[in-house]
Assembly symmetry: C2
Homo-oligomer: 223 residues x 2
């Protein structure tokens, strides 16, 4: 299939358009010297809990999971989480910094369907997108919460097709997360791995179709 | 329910009866200075790949996954994996050290049903158990490979009931892995978390019924 046949450009949110580790500053402000550890474990457990709850059949919203993961990260770091610090940290998750090239890239995709497709629930995804400069450049913001199926289950990716009215081979899906790329490629999307940190691809039996250092790489697929 | 009503004592294998990090020595022998990192990432990816493949609907045996995870760990560490070093490392996984108290504890459980219930496939689980001194003290060695459902899905734990012919509340399930404890408790087993390293319990909405520093703790439930 030629790249010019893509009809929809679909983006993961966390780690792909928004930098999840931009909370380090707030973590360090509240817990001096522990910010990096808390931020790292917070993200790790957030992902792990979404996978495990899906496997256990105990779905909870990504916001609830994000809060649970923060509790774990603070306990492990020996940092006391109060009602106030929890509120500040969760708030900072609603204002994550976006990667600088996002607006420019979305601007060049305006003749295509564009969407975010995220594990995030709308109560965290909408505030995040609304405060970004590219909110109006997206046709759709899609959340797995509508089907209560976290990525990378096949049923989660199906939501993209149902909502955008395209076929799977017409989708180019972007994510920085290797597990998300594996899930999307396994489902049948074309995939572009946004590998910002020069990481190693996971060994899950599927490879990304394309790999770029940042989002600008996907403009090679735009006419 | 009183503890004396337990009919079956069921043990996770990796991390619970056998020390997964006893491969560090072999890793260090083959890749000096990188053994700890390789061993840590190997285990982390082994677990992650089992979760992700289950979510993606792409089951593979735990032995295949263990090999994939080793490939990732070596790539990330910049260590070249040859056919020979791969064989040596996989072989060392079939000879993991057991925790010292295992034999004593299993000996005291001989009037109950005892079983291993593991994500490991028989091609790695059987050699491991056979080379241990307590092989004859176990009634059953159960593998999720029979149902192609990795823990912590409810369908995986169901295998224990089907094979042992007991009801879920008659089972005391032991694991060092917090995600396994969460899955088993969520399914309806009684659970004893063997917390050897004083870790923090995960925030998955379920707690272990009991927590012990090693396997001897469960002898409190033996008449």
């Amino acid at each position: 299939m030629s790249h010019s046949n893509f009809k929809a450009f679909v983006f993961d949110a966390y780690g792909t358009l928004f930098d999840v580790h931009s909370v380090i500053e707030k973590c360090n402000e509240l817990y001096p010297g522990k910010g990096e550890a808390i931020s790292r474990v917070w993200r790790q457990k957030q992902l792990e809990y979404s996978f495990l709850r899906q496997l256990m059949g105990k779905y909870a919203t990504f916001l609830a999971i994000t809060r649970d993961a923060l509790h774990y990260a603070c306990k492990e770091a020996g940092a006391e989480l109060t009602e106030d610090t929890e509120k500040q940290l969760i708030d900072s998750y609603l204002k994550l910094q976006h990667y600088e090239e996002t607006e420019e890239v979305l601007n060049k995709l305006q003749t295509y369907r564009t969407a975010i497709f995220s594990n995030g629930s709308f109560d965290m995804l909408n505030p995040l997108v609304d405060q970004s400069p590219f909110s109006s450049l997206l046709d759709e913001v899609l959340s797995v919460d509508e089907v209560k199926q976290f990525k990378p289950t096949p049923m989660s990716y199906q939501l993209v097709l149902d909502k955008l009215g395209v076929r799977r081979e017409e989708v180019l899906f972007m994510s920085s997360n290797t597990w998300d790329i594996a899930g999307a490629a396994s489902f049948g999307f074309y995939t572009a791995w946004i590998n910002r940190q020069g990481k190693v691809m996971d060994e899950l039996g599927v490879k990304p179709h394309y790999e770029y250092g940042d989002l600008r790489g996907i403009l090679a697929h735009v006419e």
